[in-house]
Symmetry: C2
Subunit: 135 residues, 2 copies
DNA sequence: GCTATATTATTTAATATTGAACTATTTGTC
DNA sequence: GACAAATAGTTCAATATTAAATAATATAGC
């Protein structure tokens, strides 16, 4: 029980302390999460984006809307299965997320560096068990 | 870096899977967090509530507003220092949060039970280090 | 081929969330 | 005591977030 409270606080604390890189570019965490997924995994439909950043479908619609307004991503209807809309990075989106990514990673690593490599390993192992638990 | 991603996913996964107790009573996580703090720590000003549930001042104003509309909490101006507003549980608020608390705790314990007691201990230790890190 | 079911995406209503500007109050310093 | 700095709370605009209802499309079973 206590472990859970500390888990949530740790996640929120570290996230809050590393938000500045994103907010400097006027991106929210969800927006950055979407751009990050598209950069590293390629074009993706919105359901998959939702699974990736753990948000509801309705939410993804809005986040992608806002990214699209800024010209950072592009929606393309899948002609094979017209239910799907694949979300693509634009050239500008790619440029932006690529330029932000290194300092984003660096900020997180700096925050995590209070734990030794072995501790980070162990933390990852424990969290993976919790995250993978069935509904 | 990987550890951080797993940390966030674990926190969000467990939280999402235990949300049903709160949403069954039409309470959000923040609303429940406020009621919980008031129940276990007594009346509190809004700044302290914000520190407790890790949310901004503007947010606390709204969350307390919504709890007040439902008659679950009450605002009382501190007459010693009129900048402060102490938030109190009403009888109804106390009844509600007390009735919900056991199943809330049980749900979390069930989610966490995929880890052994020793693992939970270790997870708590690692998370405490991360959460306590200076800004 | 028709129909029931499932899946993707959107919309809507309600609440959350932040950051910044703002008001009211108190405290510290001269 | 006056006034500058600090602190508590509110408001506002922009975006997020969910759950539930809906529309469009695809698939499976008959």
């Amino acid at each position: 029980m206590n472990a859970f409270i500390k888990l949530v606080r740790a996640a929120e604390s570290v996230a809050a302390r590393t938000r500045h890189v994103m907010s400097g570019a006027r991106l929210t965490e969800s927006q950055f999460g979407v751009l990050d997924a598209l950069l590293h995994l390629g074009p993706m439909c919105q359901v998959d984006l939702g699974r990736k950043i753990l948000k509801s479908g309705g939410n993804i619609t809005l986040v992608v809307d806002n990214l699209e307004k800024r010209g950072l991503v592009e929606r393309r209807r899948d002609e094979k299965d017209r239910r799907y809309i694949m979300v693509h990075l634009t050239a500008e989106g790619q440029r932006l997320v690529s330029s932000l990514f290194p300092s984003h990673v660096e900020g997180i690593q700096q925050e995590m560096s209070i734990l030794s490599a072995a501790e980070q390993e162990e933390l990852g192992r424990l969290c993976r068990k919790l995250g993978a638990r069935k509904a």
